[in-house]
């Protein structure tokens, strides 16, 4: 077999390379060498991101079409990379703490492995490869969630995560097995797409679809597959939570889009449009309803991320070039906004161990910069101009409404819009705590580490400029347009 095919998998190779370097350095470097681990990894990740972005993809299908790395895939991988990189920066302070000191290598390795899995999920054009990617993206996370050995919550979160994860992968496999029944003997996306047409819709197919949707929706924490989210986010170490909430969710979203549009695109209106319709409404609404009364910041962010997942899914609903590009843009913005928020949460948790919203009262008196960053993040998440969130929201709505004559989709957007009011309410609660509440601040002033500074700066810059600079969105549109192997209209 022709090993030059591996050359087409450049991004994966890069990640693997970093993984190996970190692994070797971790294993063989002397004790004092460990301190280089963090800078090295972060720098390498940055370089990797740039490299993946710059080096043109061959864009051809390799391994008999199992693997494709088109421009769009590459863009997605960049997005994920950025996310992972910021997560690592944020985690830096935490991994340097002495409980973590000897295990930080593993932390980076696990992250890199999951990232590798996600790359596969995105690039896979065959369900076998997809499943491998999915599993290698989700199993290590269980280990990450359980990372705080001495915290009970961490264990509980881990067990909840792993149990739901394995169940959902079982469901996914079952679903796929039924899909296979329709697939005409091949698990290639393209072949299945040829076989499955709205011509012979059957109950079995619908069940299969639902199971697939549930299996992938689990990682996106779509309602009703979302219940693990809050507990896991709360229990997991904050950097892991951040990683879970943006990167793994983003990867799942991309995969979701690719599979549903490319494989089941034929039966869009016949089968899964309405499923997704219901799921999106449920996700956004339930997420909001739960988020609005949370006091623990991490739980709060968990539910907010649930409802955000609903908005992300709108891109899949649109199921066209605009939809995909808007979704990518939305996720990028979501990455910077959410990570910005998490950066603040984590710093505060590291320094003071406080995670309750009430502890943030009067934050602007002691840590004005953190307060400002948090405020911007919240505004961006709530979709308020001139911050990036506004643009990502309105763009994704635009993509959905592009189905000009479907009143149903307009109503869907209306519901989503009305939900933004609720979300605005609870995001403003945080702002209120930080700026308006008159109580004495519980959190003393503290200095933040270099990496955290960098991470926060990157996030804030992203929040402020991503929307105003239209280049990013244009880049996504073009890359999606150039993605030949995606059957997009």
């Amino acid at each position: 077999m022709d090993y030059s095919q591996f050359g087409a998998m450049l991004p994966e190779l890069i990640i693997l390379g970093i993984f190996l370097i970190v692994f070797l350095a971790d294993t063989f470097s002397p004790e004092n060498g460990k301190k280089f681990l963090t800078p090295m990894t972060t720098v390498l990740m940055l370089l990797a991101t740039v490299a993946i972005w710059i080096v043109p993809s061959c864009g051809e299908a390799v391994f008999g079409g199992m693997y494709v790395d088109g421009p769009a895939c590459k863009a997605m991988k960049c997005v994920l990379n950025v996310g992972a990189w910021i997560c690592m920066l944020e985690a830096a302070k935490w991994v340097e703490s002495d409980v973590m000191y000897y295990r930080k290598g593993e932390f980076y390795e696990l992250i890199l492995v999951t990232l590798f899995g996600m790359y596969l999920m995105i690039s896979a054009r065959h369900f076998l490869l997809f499943i491998i990617g999915l599993e290698s993206a989700s199993l290590p996370i269980a280990a990450l969630v359980a990372y705080n050995k001495d915290k009970y919550e961490s264990h509980e979160a881990a067990i909840k995560y792993i149990i739901t994860a394995v169940f959902s992968s079982a469901i996914l496999l079952t679903g796929l097995s039924f899909v296979y029944a329709f697939s005409g003997g091949s698990l290639y996306f393209s072949d299945i797409a040829v076989q499955i047409t709205s011509g012979e819709m059957s109950g079995l197919l619908i069940f299969a679809l639902t199971f697939v949707l549930a299996g992938i929706g689990f990682k996106l924490s779509l309602v009703p597959m979302h219940l693990w989210t809050a507990d896991v986010y709360q229990g997991a170490p904050t950097s892991v939570t951040a990683y879970l909430s943006v990167v793994s969710k983003g990867a799942a979203a991309f995969a979701f889009f690719i599979i549903f549009v490319q494989v089941f695109g034929q039966v869009y209106s016949a089968a899964w449009e309405w499923m997704l319709y219901a799921v999106i409404i449920a996700t956004i609404t339930v997420g909001n309803l739960f988020a609005m009364r949370q006091k623990n910041m991490k739980r709060f962010m968990a539910f907010s991320s649930v409802s955000q997942a609903g908005y992300i899914m709108l891109g899949v609903m649109a199921a066209n070039q605009l939809g995909m590009a808007s979704m990518m843009f939305y996720i990028l913005v979501y990455v910077v906004s959410n990570l910005g928020a998490f950066a603040v949460i984590q710093m505060i948790e590291d320094r003071t161990g406080l995670v309750s919203m009430d502890d943030y009262n009067g934050l602007h008196k002691t840590n004005p910069y953190l307060a400002v960053a948090m405020t911007l993040a919240m505004f961006s998440l709530a979709g308020i101009p001139p911050f990036a969130g506004f643009f990502s929201k309105i763009l994704i709505f635009t993509s959905v409404t592009s189905h000009q004559n479907s009143m149903a989709l307009y109503m869907l957007v209306l519901i989503a819009l009305i939900n933004t009011i609720i979300s605005l309410y609870y995001y403003l609660l945080v702002v209120k705590a930080m700026w308006i509440s008159a109580d004495e601040p519980k959190i003393g002033a503290f200095k933040s580490g270099k990496c955290e500074k960098v991470a926060l700066t990157v996030c804030v810059l992203g929040i402020v400029f991503l929307g105003l600079v239209s280049y990013v969105y244009k880049y996504f549109i073009d890359s999606v347009g150039a993605e030949t192997l995606l059957a997009l209209n």
């Binding site: 169940f167 959902s168 619908i206 549930a214 009703p224 309803l289 739960f290 609005m292």
Partner: protein, 648 residues
């Protein structure tokens, strides 16, 4: 005539207003007073020049083969609603306008002069003069209006300056409420005026008086016979416009503000609430006279309202204690007189009939002129009395003729004039009016003659109670005396005018169509009115000259009637009920409640419901992972089933 003088006539008072209003704070009272008086004097001179040029210059622009013309000195666009409906600010010179110029500036100047003495030592002296100038400006602007909308503009302005002047002593709650009442009542009337203008101009497509009055039939034609609730639209329009007049001229039932307006300084009452502003309603009807004549219904309306008001006010005047209120009611009654005489006039008719048709108009204007003079005189006299006795109440007076000769004689002249005793001015104008009424319908004549008698009665009742009756014991330690010269001069001047004004050949100057009109006394009418007046005076003398118990007897004879009249037939109570109980109690409060407890509550309700729901569904997040899996699994199954059922 050039535009300079007319513009100055308007500009000067306004400038004085700004000067005294803004710069007044820095000025001493003396400077402010002198400035005010000088400014007003200049305005008066200019107004006289303009008026006399108009009447006597014989310039063909003003009088063309014996017929006086309407002459627009200037007319500049102010605001263009549409191409046709354009609001202009202009200066229309015609007989009534010229006459009003004279009246307003004269009285205003007298009041300025008088106030210098009267308002000595009041706080806000400068502000007072500023407001006087503002009022004069607005009133002049009103009378020279070339179009109905300009009139409306200045109509509002006189309203507000009257508000400011009534509420001049703004520390007194009574003054504040009186000013509020005056403004709101007239404002309400102006709403009618506005609607009238809207309706009328919707058809005429012009605001301009000359266009409307020159061929009124055309106006009627433009309405195209449209009707609303039985009456023709034009009737509605004219009646609504007249409503505005009712408000300003204090016709029943919108009269209630005028008596209270006496809370203002007395010179103000003389200027605004006796001589000038309150006749704005009459002036309005006179302006639109030809159009009113087109629709008889509206004319009848004017007449009836006038007749009722005249009688009502006269009766009430007989029972008031506050001398200024007596004068106020007599003002109302006199203005009603003018209304009636306008109402009975008409443009049409031929031959002998034609002789009378325009008479009412001429007489009304004549009376407007004379009344302005003697009523101002009476008010200023009252002012002098109040200044001396420090009370509005005739029970604190009596027997003052010894102490205040000038005031006494001038006041007497005023009373004679208003009572219609020759040779004083009131006689002539009132006689003409009565003649016109008799000519139209003897009922009006008889009715108004009776009112004339009442007038004579209550005026002399007042006169005797003030100057005769019995002396107030307080004079011992506080001796009342005549007012300073600034106050006496106006009294004497006005008294002189009241004596001679009757001999002005008014018919030559002011008629509805500008054609001269030869006044000749109607012997029967004149005699009856004189007899009635004398009888009334005799009665008054009998009752009030010397202290006796006749008045109390009368009072006790018909107690119900007396109290009712004394309480002005309970109009104020009715209004209080309507405003407080109905408007505030039954409309505003419920609406405010509704806003808070229904609409606002609904909005809050959304939030509350959302909160409730979010708490209600928290059980879903039970913390038990198997429950999560169940939700997961059955959620997926349910989704599948529903889709299945819906699609297959």
């Amino acid at each position: 005539m050039g535009v300079t003088l007319p513009i100055l006539i308007l500009a000067l008072p306004f400038f004085m207003f700004l000067l005294l209003g803004i710069g007044g704070v820095k000025m001493s009272r003396k400077v402010a007073g002198i400035l005010g008086i000088l400014g007003m004097g200049t305005t008066m001179t200019l107004a006289y020049i303009v008026a006399f040029t108009y009447f006597f210059s014989g310039d063909p622009a003003f009088i063309l083969d014996g017929v006086r013309q309407q002459f627009q000195v200037f007319d500049v666009t102010w605001l263009a609603f549409t191409e046709k409906l354009v609001v202009k600010i202009g200066f229309l010179l015609d007989p009534i306008c010229a006459m009003m110029l004279v009246v307003i500036t004269t009285i205003s100047f007298m009041v300025h002069l008088y106030s210098w003495g009267y308002m000595e030592g009041e706080r806000g002296f400068q502000r007072y003069y500023a407001f006087l100038s503002l009022f004069t400006f607005s009133m002049l602007g009103l009378v020279v209006a070339t179009n109905i909308f300009q009139m409306y503009i200045f109509w509002e302005l006189v309203g507000v300056s009257s508000f400011l002047l009534i509420g001049f002593f703004y520390r007194l709650p009574s003054a504040v409420s009186a000013s509020k009442k005056a403004f709101i009542v007239t404002r309400f009337a102006d709403l009618g005026f506005l609607l009238g203008i809207l309706t009328l101009t919707y058809f005429t497509d012009t605001f301009n008086f000359v266009d409307m009055t020159s061929n009124p039939m055309n106006v009627l034609a433009e309405t195209g016979g449209a009707t609303f609730m039985g009456a023709s639209v034009l009737t509605w329009a004219m009646v609504l416009i007249f409503t505005g007049g009712m408000g300003k001229s204090a016709m029943l039932p919108l009269h209630i503000w005028l008596p209270d307006a006496m809370e203002g300084p007395t010179p103000v009452s003389a200027l605004i609430h006796a001589a000038t502003m309150v006749v704005a309603g009459v002036y309005l009807v006179a302006r639109m006279f030809p159009v009113y004549c087109v629709v008889d219904a509206s004319m009848t309306f004017v007449t009836v309202v006038g007749a009722i008001t005249a009688f009502y006010a006269a009766v009430v005047a007989c029972t008031q204690i506050d001398i200024k209120r007596v004068l106020a009611f007599s003002t109302i009654s006199q203005i009603a007189f003018m209304m009636v005489s306008l109402g009975v006039a008409s443009t049409g008719g031929v031959g002998d009939g034609h002789h009378y048709t325009g008479l009412g108009y001429m007489a009304g204007m004549f009376h407007l002129f004379t009344h302005a003079m003697f009523k101002a005189l009476l008010f200023l006299g009252a002012g002098a009395l109040i200044h001396a006795v420090h009370s509005n109440d005739y029970t604190k007076m009596g027997g003052l003729r010894k102490y205040m000769p000038i005031t006494h004689w001038t006041f007497l002249i005023g009373c004679l004039a208003i009572a219609g005793i020759p040779p004083f001015s009131g006689f002539f104008s009132k006689d003409e009016m009565l003649a016109a009424m008799f000519n139209n319908n003897w009922i009006w004549g008889a009715w108004m003659t009776m009112v004339a008698g009442l007038t004579a009665f209550y005026m002399f009742r007042l006169y005797y109670l003030i100057f005769w009756w019995e002396e107030n014991p307080d004079y011992a330690h506080h001796k009342p005396h005549d007012a300073p010269w600034q106050m006496s001069v106006p009294l004497i001047f006005l008294a002189a005018v009241s004596c001679v004004a009757g001999f002005i050949p008014f018919g030559e100057l002011v008629t509805w169509n500008g054609a001269p009109y030869h006044i000749h006394l109607e012997a029967p009418v004149a005699c009856t009115s004189i007899i009635v007046a004398l009888a009334a005076i005799a009665l008054a003398t009998k009752m009030y000259m010397k202290k006796n118990d006749l008045p109390t007897k009368f009072k006790n004879a018909l107690p119900g009637l007396w109290t009712a009249a004394h309480r002005r037939f309970y109009w104020d109570e009715i209004y209080l009920f309507i405003t407080h109980k109905i408007i505030f109690g039954c409309i505003s409060k419920p609406i405010a409640w509704f806003d808070r407890h229904v609409i606002d509550a609904t909005m809050d309700g959304f939030a509350k419901v959302t909160q409730k729901v979010s708490f209600a569904i928290r059980g879903m997040q039970s913390g038990n992972v198997q429950a999560y899996v169940l939700w997961y699994f059955f959620g997926a199954l349910a989704l599948a089933f529903i889709t299945w059922i819906c699609l297959l």
